[in-house]
């Protein structure tokens, strides 16, 4: 075929680069959006870390002499400029000359004496501010922090020591008292708990016999007698333990420290109530670091006190992690099997397409709707039926017929199953057909091929689904509020009583803890740092769980390399 040469025509100049304002501004806009998003995320983390982690740092304690002659002791927590409209011409002029008046916020503690932990003081009222070395800061079991000076240590109505001797004595006593407190706790959670547990079992056994008899079974007097005898035994043991506990309690508070607050009032505190006694102004940086580490450890590993406004968040961490693990155990097999059916076995057609659309839409249903479903289906229907069938003797107290960690995990599993299905399906689709044929050509059945070649090859995809599910589940709070999450759970869902994992128990959750501490507590000012710290650790834990899953996925990816096949 003859080809016509393109007509060269007159030589055209290449021309100059034309400005492209729209393109340039779009580039800038998108870059700026990305930068803004990153900035927001980093800002969030920095804010949480700064607000939350600063709380554990022990700063100096100030003694302020006020113009009216009173004295205030406390830690400075904030200063600000007062921007009130000037009342008079003269005042306005003064503000002009001297600058606006400022004020200082002081954490004064001593809630039992003052009623409030915080106080704002106008700086113009402050005559003198000092940081004497003998000021003490006490962390105690009740009423929050105490600020003041130690006067003396008493026991049984006698003065044991005064001044510096008293301080040394208090410091010596603290480890002993901590040991005693541990003893009391072990007693309560150990033997006393066991006895109460067994008494409850006896009560249920008796209820079972009663039911059986009511339904016409012959009276079982022998069993009743056995139960009564055992109960008597337990009750007498329980009384002995109660005496022992009382003895320990008196021992705990035998020594009492007498303090003087900033306003001169004295306050007696049982030595057993004192968790930590510090003289912050005499502390070295190393001391402060030690205190910091101790406080962070307490926060992470202790139970909450004072209706969650003090103490630690351990039960909430434990509940969150356990619930997410349970959810993962449920959602992964469920989602993977569903995806396997959809991708490998179902005949691809309209039905499968509709199912896929439905699954994707499920991911968009508001989470509270899942909570309602969990409540009505899992809790009332399934749980209620389990109670009726297997635990009739417990009626009217529900066991499974009320919210619990299992129902919460199942509810979240439903919420996150679309994510797992979609990710797994993508993983399966990425396994080339030639790989399946290679297995079939060796005489493998379809099932063998699926289990031994396809699923392992799709494992990274499955892991991705799991990661997304965990991320989603760990952040969900709303649906859990109606299926078993509580602000304060009496016991962890995992303990030494058979069957160890108590799926019916209520649990605490970091997300709910944040809400409860931050917005339901009467003392918002004092708990605000706790909210930030809790949020910080929630983010940290979710990140840690994700990193774990990601590292497993990367390990799998490395194992199966990535070479082009």
């Amino acid at each position: 075929m003859p080809r016509s040469e393109p007509n060269p025509g007159p030589a055209r100049p290449l021309g100059r680069r034309r400005p492209d304002p729209l393109g340039t501004s779009l580039t800038w806009l998108s870059g700026a959006s990305l930068a803004l998003s990153l900035l927001l995320i980093v800002g969030l983390l920095v804010l949480l870390a700064a607000q939350g982690l600063g709380f554990f740092w022990q700063g100096p304690v100030h003694q302020l002499q006020l113009a009216d002659g009173t004295r205030v002791i406390g830690e400075i927590t904030a200063t600000e400029t007062v921007r009130a409209p000037a009342n008079s011409e003269a005042e306005a002029r003064r503000i002009e000359e001297e600058g606006a008046p400022t004020r200082t916020q002081l954490k004064i503690g001593n809630r039992d004496l003052y009623g409030l932990d915080f106080r704002w003081i106008d700086d113009s009222d402050i005559v003198d501010s000092t940081t004497p070395a003998d000021l003490v800061m006490i962390e105690r079991l009740e009423w929050g922090a105490f600020f003041g000076r130690l006067r003396e240590l008493r026991a049984d109505g006698r003065v044991l020591a005064t001044g510096e001797d008293a301080w040394r004595e208090v410091l010596r006593l603290l480890p002993e008292k901590a040991k005693l407190r541990r003893q009391v706790r072990d007693l309560e959670k150990g033997e006393i708990g066991d006895i109460n547990h067994e008494l409850e079992e006896l009560r249920l056994a008796e209820a079972r016999i009663q039911r059986a008899e009511a339904q016409g079974a012959p009276p079982d007097d022998a069993a009743r007698a056995r139960i009564a005898a055992r109960r008597l035994q337990l009750e007498s043991r329980s009384e002995a333990l109660a005496v022992e506990r009382a003895r320990l309690q008196t021992l705990l508070d035998r020594e009492r420290a007498v303090f003087v607050a900033g306003d001169g009032r004295s306050k007696e505190i049982g030595a057993g109530q004192i968790l930590r006694a510090l003289r912050p102004n005499a502390m070295t940086t190393l001391d402060r670091l030690g205190v910091y580490a101790g406080r962070v450890a307490e926060f992470l590993f202790d139970d909450p006190r004072e209706s969650n406004t003090e103490g630690g968040i351990f039960p909430a961490i434990f509940g969150t992690v356990l619930m997410v693990f349970l959810m993962t155990f449920v959602v992964t097999p469920l989602g993977v099997l569903a995806a396997l059916y959809l991708r490998e076995y179902a005949v691809q057609g309209t039905t499968v397409r509709l199912v896929r659309i439905a699954v994707n839409n499920l991911a968009g249903v508001p989470s509270i709707v899942f909570g309602m479903f969990g409540l009505s289906f899992f809790v009332y229907l399934v749980g209620g039926s389990i109670d009726r069938l297997f635990y009739p003797e417990m009626a009217p107290t529900p066991k499974f017929g009320t919210g619990g960690i299992l129902w919460a995990a199942l509810t979240l599993a439903l919420l996150t199953v679309p994510v797992v299905i979609v990710a797994t399906e993508e993983g399966l689709a990425a396994v080339p057909r030639i790989m399946r044929e290679g297995s079939m050509a060796l005489g493998a059945t379809k099932l063998e091929t699926t289990l031994r070649v396809v699923v392992p090859a799709a494992a990274p995809g499955i892991l991705t689904g799991m990661i997304l599910a965990i991320a989603r589940a760990a952040g969900e709070v709303a649906p859990l509020m109606i299926v078993g999450m509580v602000k304060l759970a009496p016991s962890l869902p995992l303990d030494h009583h058979f069957p160890h994992l108590h799926l019916d128990r209520k649990f605490m959750h970091l997300g709910f803890h944040i809400y409860d501490v931050g917005f339901q507590s009467p003392n918002v000012e004092a708990t605000r740092p706790l909210v930030f710290a809790t949020a910080f650790f929630l983010v940290l834990i979710v990140t840690a769980m994700n990193l774990l899953a990601i590292s497993i996925r990367n390990h799998l990816r490395r194992k199966y390399a990535t070479s082009a096949v």
């Binding site: 044929e437 050509a441 060796l442 005489g443 493998a444 090859a457 070479s563 096949v565």
Partner: protein, 296 residues
């Protein structure tokens, strides 16, 4: 030899292909069919292990194979040649029933393996594939270690003893001329091997379950000349133990390695015979044109 029940055969052979009723085996005599002696079934062929009889195949409504009949001799290399798209892979995949996996495929005619129809409804297809191995055009090692790739087949078929598996892995890798190159990294990912090594690993994987037949579908099309030469040498060695069917569109390769050659064109078997004859004295005009490189 079991005779399948008629009902099942009807269902299996929806294509309505001709149903051969003479299942002579190992006779070495040309196969008489209802339509006379098929010229493609050469009486020179001793010990036919596989008999392809009037095979037809449809992908949906599109017929890819038209009445193909020929014999595949035992412990010889049979090459299938022909231009791209003429149905070589399709024919090959009929022999281990891999086309069963493709939606909308219908098959007529029959293939006899040791005298028995492989499309017999009573036949265990997995057992058939265990005895008729396959190496694909594109190497397809599993995303597992080299060791696990080779041990995959034996494990499937019930070998669990570690010592026995070790032995099989070594002998198979030696059989595929790969042992020396990989013996120090048996537990590394198979995907880290080069293309030629991967293809030899696939051969090792196939021979680990000691099949009787190995089907090769253009095993060298993605390899460089050095790797190709290695595979060709290997095939020559394997001939003493296995019956080999190889698809290739490389004339020189067919001429070099094979004992018999079948030339396919547009889904029909044009000519079949000893390789030397096909390449030197082809009977058909199309064959001559093709082997001379005049089209394809």
């Amino acid at each position: 030899m079991t005779t399948p029940r008629p009902g099942e055969r009807e269902r299996l052979f929806q294509g309505g292909g001709r149903m051969p009723d003479l299942h002579a085996s190992g006779s070495g005599v040309g196969l008489p069919t209802r339509h006379g002696v098929d010229p493609a079934i050469d009486s020179d062929i001793a010990n036919p292990l596989l008999r392809v009889e009037a095979l037809e195949l449809w992908y949906g409504s599109n017929q890819a194979l038209h009445g193909i009949s020929f014999l595949i001799p035992e412990k010889k290399i049979t090459a299938l040649i022909g231009p791209s798209g003429c149905g070589k892979s399709t024919l090959l995949r009929c022999i281990n029933r891999l086309n069963d996996l493709v939606d909308g495929v219908r098959i007529g005619g029959d293939i006899l393996f040791e005298g028995r129809s492989i499309y017999d409804a009573e036949l265990d297809v997995n057992q058939l594939r265990r005895r008729i191995g396959m190496v694909f055009q594109k190497s397809n090692p599993f995303p597992k270690s080299i060791y696990e790739n080779v041990a995959y087949g034996p494990r499937l078929h019930g070998t669990t003893q570690k010592a026995r598996l070790d032995e099989l892995v070594e002998s198979s890798l030696r059989g595929a001329a790969l042992w020396e190159e990989v013996k120090d990294r048996l537990h590394d990912s198979a995907l880290g091997l080069s293309g030629g090594q991967q293809q030899r690993l696939c051969i090792a994987r196939a021979i680990a379950i000691e099949p009787e037949v190995i089907l090769f579908d253009e095993p060298c099309s993605a390899l460089d000349p050095v790797a190709t030469a290695k595979i060709e040498d290997l095939m020559y060695d394997l001939k003493s133990r296995f019956t080999i069917v190889i698809v290739t569109h490389n004339m020189q390769q067919a001429a070099r390695v094979s004992d018999y050659t079948a030339f396919l064109y547009l889904g029909r078997l044009v000519e079949y015979g000893p390789t030397t004859r096909i390449f030197t004295k082809p009977e058909k005009r199309e064959t001559e044109d093709y082997v001379m490189g005049r089209f394809g």
